[in-house]
Each structure stands twice: as C-alpha cells, then as structure tokens.
Symmetry: C3
Subunit: 334 residues, 3 copies
C-alpha cells in the first residue's frame, strides 16, 4: 500500500486531496472489495460510531454508508436532521459549534448530505460542510452536497478501472440526459474534477443553457492542463459519442433551477427529451463502458438496452460506493 | 441437524418450502433458542447487512428482525420505503430491477413487509414480493404481506410444540375474534397452511361472510388430504371449541375490505362483537394452548383471563419470531 | 470496584438507588471513559439489544445511547413510538403489559424518553415509566422524563468531579436562565436531587413564580439534611453567584406551563430576559465550573464567553452521558 496519512482529514471534494491520497484510497477500496468481510477490515472501526446526517434523504447512500460502517466493525447512526434544531436568525437553537463539538465526542466521523433543496442558494451546502468541518474535531465526509459527491467520484473511478483498465489518456463523455428528476450537479461536477485529475480527457455535452458551475469548469481545465489531457464542450449530442471510452449520461439541472423552482426546471429540461443514451449512439464510441450514479431514469437518461448491456457497469459502480466509502472511513478514522 | 440446503432461497410462504426444509428450520430455531447469544451463532452473519423494507410499519416485526440480525453478528438496516421512489405508470423513478440489484450488492438478504393498505388489491403484495425476488440476487423474506406471514407461521409451530408436544393429529381451531383493527389475512392464512402441512387437523370458525382466500382454503384442504387429517369450517362459535388442542382467536378482515374501506369493514365486524375467546369457551377444549400473533386486542379477540392463563403461549410465540427468523436467515443467508 | 448488585434494576431517578450504588456507577463510568473501546467492555452486551423508545425526540440522547450500546458490543434499536399503538380509553390497541412483555423477550433493557409534551399533566411521564417497569422483565432506564433525568445527573457529577475534584461540601448554583425553549424540569430536578444526595450544598435561584415540584424540593432538603449541607433559594440573580463552585444555568418552564401552553409560557419567561450567566456574574463565584445539559441557548441562558471559557465543562458533561450510560447499562443489564 502507498504510504499516505489521511487520519483526521475531511473529504468534501476529491480536489481537496492529493493525487497520491486519492490513489491510496482507490487502492485500499479495491483491496477491500476483494477481501470483503475479512476480520482484518472489521477491526478498523470496531465498536465505533459513524454519524449520518441526511438533510436530503437517499436510500442508496444510506444503505452503502451503513453497510460500510458495519463491515468495518462499527455502527452508523442514521440521524434525523429534523430533530437537529440549529440556531438561525429567526429561531432559537444550538450553534453549529456545539452540535459538532458534542457529536465529535460520541462518534469517530460524521457524514453529511445536503443538496439544493435544503439550502437557499447554490454553494451554501458546500459552505455548510466546510463550516461544520471547522468546528468538528472528527472527519467530515460529504455524502453528496450541492457542489460535489466525492464518494461517488471514487466509486466511478474504481468501476472504470475494473472495466477499461488504466484510464489515463482515455476519454470520458460527461453527457446530459433528459429526466424530469431535476438532478443535482454534485455527481457530475465530482466526475469531471476527479477524472481530469487522474488523467482522462473530458468531453462534456449538453443542450445549450445547461451550463454547470464555471469555477468547477476552470478547475477541470486546470486539471487537464496539468495532466496533459484535453477538455472539450459540445452541444452536438451524436458526435459527442465518437471514440469515447466511457459514457456517463445523466440529467443535471439548469443553472436557473433556484429561480425557476422544480417545475420551471422540468419545463426547460423537457425541451430536450431527445438527449438519451441509445444503442445507436453507443455504437459510435470506442466500445465504451456505460456508467451512471443511479438511480437511473430508464427510457429518459438512457435506454434499457444501454443500461442492461454487457458494457454497462452501473451496478458495479453502485457496489463500489460501499468499498470506496470503507476505504475513506478506514483512512480518515481508522 | 437435518441436511437441507436453503442457501439463497426466498421465503414468501412456507408452502414454497418442502416439509423437510421447514422441519430443519424449526429444529435450528429451537436450537438457537436454547443457545441464545452463543458466539457460534453470532458468526453466521458477522458484519453482514440485512435490509428491512417496511411498506407498513410494525414495531414487533422490526424489533424481532433487527434483534435477529444483531444476534447473528450482523446488522439490520431499517429502511424508510417512503424514500424509495419506484418507477410507476404515473411517476419517474427507479425500476425494481435496479433497486433490487443494488440492494443485493450491499446486503445478504432483504425482508419486505407489504400489507393490504399498501397495495391496490389483494394479491398485489404477494406479487410484489415474488417480482422483487425474481430480480434480486439475495434471499427475499416476507415480513408479512397481504397473503402470508411465514415467519409468524414458523413461530406459531415452535410455540405449539413447546406447549403441546407433537402437533401431528391434533386439532387447531382457527377462529375469528372481534376487533375494530381490520386485520390482515396473512397470519391466519399462513397458520392454516403450515399447520395442515405439518399434520394438524384444522377447524376454521367465523361469522358467515368472513371467508378468506378460496385458493388458500384449497391449499389447506390438499395439505390435510396429503397428511390424512381433517379440515372443517363452522359458524357455530361455541361448538367450535369442542376438543381442540390449540385455539388461535384473531380478527381477520371481511373479503370486501377493499371495496368497503376500513370504516365499512369495521361496521361489518362490529355485528359480531360476541366472537371472543372466553374462559368458558376454552373449557370446552382439550386443555388447549392459546395462541395469537400479537398485538392482541384484549377484551375483543380474547378475554384477559384467556390471555393471561397458564395455557396462553402468546409471549412465547412472540419470542419465537426472533428464533425462527434467526434460523431462516442462517439457512438462507449464512 | 465497589461490590454492588444492580443486575435487573430500573433507573428512573437516582434517588431510587443507594448512594453506594450511585458511587459504583460513577466509578465504573470513569473507568469506562479511561478505557474507551476496550474489548473487555465490548463483551458486556455482545450481540444484545437495547430498545430506545422516544416519545419525544432528542438527537443527543439518541446519539449517546446508541453509541453506548455499540461500545458495549450490542445494538440499540431506535424505535418510533408513533408505531406503538397502546390501548387507551378511546382507541383499541395493545395493553402495556403485552408491549413490555414482548419487548422484554427481544431486548435486555429498554430506555424511555417521555417529556411534558407527550403527557397530559406533570407526573404522568414518571408514572408511565414506573408502570412500564412493573410489567417489563428487563431494566427500564429513563432517557429523560417529565420529572427526572438520571443519566444526565450522573454525567453532571462525573464532569464536576473531573473539574473541581471532590464535590462534597462544595456549592452548586442551580440557576434559571432565560430561553424561549420551554424546557423540562427533568435535568434541573435530577441535578438538585443527586448533588444534594452526594454531599453538595444546593443554592437555587430563579425569578419569582418559577417554582419547580415542591416534592422534589422536599427530597432535596432531606438529602441536604442527611448530608449535613445547606439548601437555599434566592431570587437575587447576582448575589446568587457569590462563592459557588459550580454554576448550572438553564431555563426551566413555569409551573403553569400545562395550563398556559408553550406560547403562554414563553411570554412569562420573556419577562426575565436578564437572567443569564455572564462573565461578570461568573467572576463572583469561587472560580466555578460552568455546566449545562445542552443544547444550550447561547446569548440567553449563558453568554458565549461563559460557554467557551476554560472553566466551562459543557462538552465534557455531554461526553459523560455516554460513559455514564455505558456504566448504567453494564451494571443493570451486563
């Protein structure tokens, strides 16, 4: 194993960690996948508590984090944040410092999920995590927030490497897919940031107007420049598939989602129902693997035939969430 | 121990398993009851996850399944199905195949509870479980559904055998008891199916009109024929008690419950408030054991004196849920 | 360790236990704090289940109890009492005896939290716990109820001893602090009862009218008399701080809270917004430790400077909840 020391570190975006730290995490995740349920790994968090704070519900994230804690010998507490009354301008309550301070005495780490619907404006979720991390004395792990989803990003990389081997120099197509589900930027932004960082060419394709955070684009471009790879944007859905090695088709919300509300966003998205991964489009690729962070909106984001194809690794990536999270918890809290 | 191989099998109704398989489960359940908290049993699901999906809440079922997983060394995740958005004709969401496929990667088994109130019509709960089992790659266990309740059935048999010894050739009175609680057919149908299968005479007694599923009656009759025992139906509450070895007095809903709604059903049931297990009626039996799957509606389904009598085994049967479920989990997932 | 036998005992108020029993619990709690995560302690509830029944939610109490069970090798089930339908005058349901009887078969102990808002009148929560304890066959532990909060009381004592050493003969100021949060009497009443019992002088200070339960005052006076210490009441907020060794500033509700409702209570409390622990007031003390059961309403019950001062032990006391509860569970259920 590579020698890195991540003890006590937070994970809010993979960009916060060095490439060496990310590679060590990926290596440990792969090892843990191979040696699932080993007693050695079950000693890592033995009898220790990991706290799960869900400002937005997620069955999958909860399942994978709770199983991760169990497999490391510990226990994840699934906490209802509606019972957590933080002080605000308009109501009495507890200051974040006290909440975080006491949780840090009970548990060895805290996972927080806080998406668009739980914050007033884009970026507030990221700020919440970073503020919480400042006052907590144990690692804070993003379980997806409005900007990033580091655990998903690491699981994606694990899955790609299992499927296409070394990803360096290969091309990821990050493509918008239609869905009425008004999806967060978190997984998509995490994907382009981590994969550019680890040496892939990144091609983004989306209907005009569906731009994501320009700062994240800048980070991605800088990552590509540092790695000597390319970053492209196209609005030509079909040509976008040409020669790519991985297709990641997923809906992401319009940048005006906060002003528009959910229904307004759905109307805008519905103008692009033709944006969908199909077998025909997949045929233009370099025998690309198909990934998606799930749940996938079949028939919209991608056709059944694509989801169920041999080159689809959607279940493997979902499973990798577990292994990646075990590795993260082991390295930061073990 | 008997040599059966149940590894990977679902349990939706005990009728799906062979008599030998049921007997092996009962034997292991009894052994686990004797050796509670042994380290040997705690190795069976060590650090593994069992998923609990409750479409209908149940404090007891949750308690017994969660404790079962803990005692086997694993952990049961109590999942809120309101967060599980399955695709339907009218809403976007995840297809069952994907939900089940990913859960199968995280856990070693899935328990599902889905009763009348969560489905459109009788039988849909059973279909849901069987469809889910088709697409999951780990065992699916019914934690009670609109048709059957196999864990309750096995716990009942354990309790009867502890109380009256060998049940073969003895007579079970499955009798309707008044309650406004609009109760499922699941426990009752499971009871007559499993007990006929394992060699008991079955006598059903209920107010006219309160028929249950005719297919289940046919199965029960066939079970009795195969075992050389008798199946009777009576509407004479008092005579029903004559000479029976076990009394199982419980409300079950009218077959028109779906058309009538809960209040309509309650009105129909309320015409038969005299249907109740009393000390006088119990005196007509062959010193019968009294069972009920609980929670029992005292004063309606049975008098306090019956519930608290020495021959009442209601708490023992409730406890046996834990042991039966541990045995089921051990054999199918261990 | 002191030789006491608490196996099977309930803990509803510390006054129910002997001083020797309380001292043994405190001693074990301090030992468990020093030896956190030791395998020896993790064997105490190995694979056993502790049931948590929250009639009133509490993130902190849940976190500390769930972590306590985990650290003892067991598992705490977080149960939703809304799913627990107890029989009442107006609705069908299960009698308490049956609920408690079956839970006693699944778990080795039951924690119950039931505060003002869940009962019709003061005292009903205490009665509920005592009735439940009568019919359960495993220990019942109060996780805070309308009258007392024994786990908090023990955690307070642990924290004080860590901070000021031997508390005997020293003086506790139990002082009312303004907050709109309409707080229970439980922590406050527990505090004066246990600290008088264990040899402290008790000084209470509050705005006129904010009397607490006169029976609890009588118990406290009797404890002080037995210990040879003093019990005082004052309505002079400033003089109250003179020479005390521990300051415990917390809001408690007006005795007419049930008649007034929450808003009426808030109006009454709001007349005393000046009741607040400040640095100036703390300067009048004998370099007192500052404690609070948290969550603390900063700026109301106490100023930030007091909460964050070196003499503040609020996080230590919060952490001690965990250790005290582990000791209680170990001694009563181990």
């Amino acid at each position: 194993m590579m020698a890195v020391n991540l003890k006590g570190r937070d994970l809010i975006c993979t960009q916060d960690w060095s490439v060496e730290e990310l590679e060590a995490t990926l290596e440990l995740g792969a090892k843990m996948k191979k040696e699932r349920y080993s007693e050695e790994h079950a000693a890592i968090l033995r009898h220790k508590t990991f706290m799960l704070m869900f400002y937005n519900s997620s069955l999958r994230t909860r399942q994978s984090f709770e199983a991760a804690a169990t497999e490391l010998g510990g226990h994840a507490q699934f906490l209802e944040t509606k019972n957590l009354r933080l002080k605000s301008k308009t109501q009495s309550g507890e200051v974040m410092k006290d909440t975080a301070g006491v949780m840090s005495r009970y548990g060895v780490g805290i996972g927080i999920r806080i998406l668009e619907d739980s914050v007033e404006k884009y970026g507030d979720g990221d700020k919440f995590l970073r503020d919480f991390a400042d006052v907590a004395t144990v690692p804070i792990i993003s379980m997806a927030h409005d900007m990033f989803h580091p655990c998903q990003g690491l699981a994606d990389v694990m899955g790609m490497r299992e499927s296409i081997g070394d990803t360096r120099g290969k091309t990821l197509l990050q493509i918008w897919g239609y869905s009425p589900m008004v999806r967060s930027w978190s997984s998509v932004q995490e994907s382009i940031v981590i994969n550019s960082r680890l040496g892939m060419n990144v091609r983004m394709a989306y209907p005009e107007g569906f731009e994501i955070d320009p700062d994240v684009i800048e980070t991605t471009k800088a990552n590509c420049a540092a790695a000597g790879t390319t970053f492209e944007v196209t609005h030509d859905q079909d040509a976008a598939y040409d020669g790519v090695d991985v297709v990641y088709s997923r809906h992401w919300m319009h940048p005006k989602r906060y002003e528009l509300g959910r229904e307004g966003e759905q109307e805008l998205s519905a103008k692009h129902k033709d944006w969908r991964a199909t077998t025909e489009r997949m045929a233009r690729t370099h025998d690309a693997a198909f990934i998606h962070p799930m749940p996938i909106d079949r028939g919209n984001e991608a056709d059944d035939a694509v989801c169920d194809a041999e080159r689809s690794i959607i279940y493997d990536v979902a499973e990798n969430r577990l292994h990646a999270q075990k590795a993260i918890m082991a390295l930061t809290m073990g």
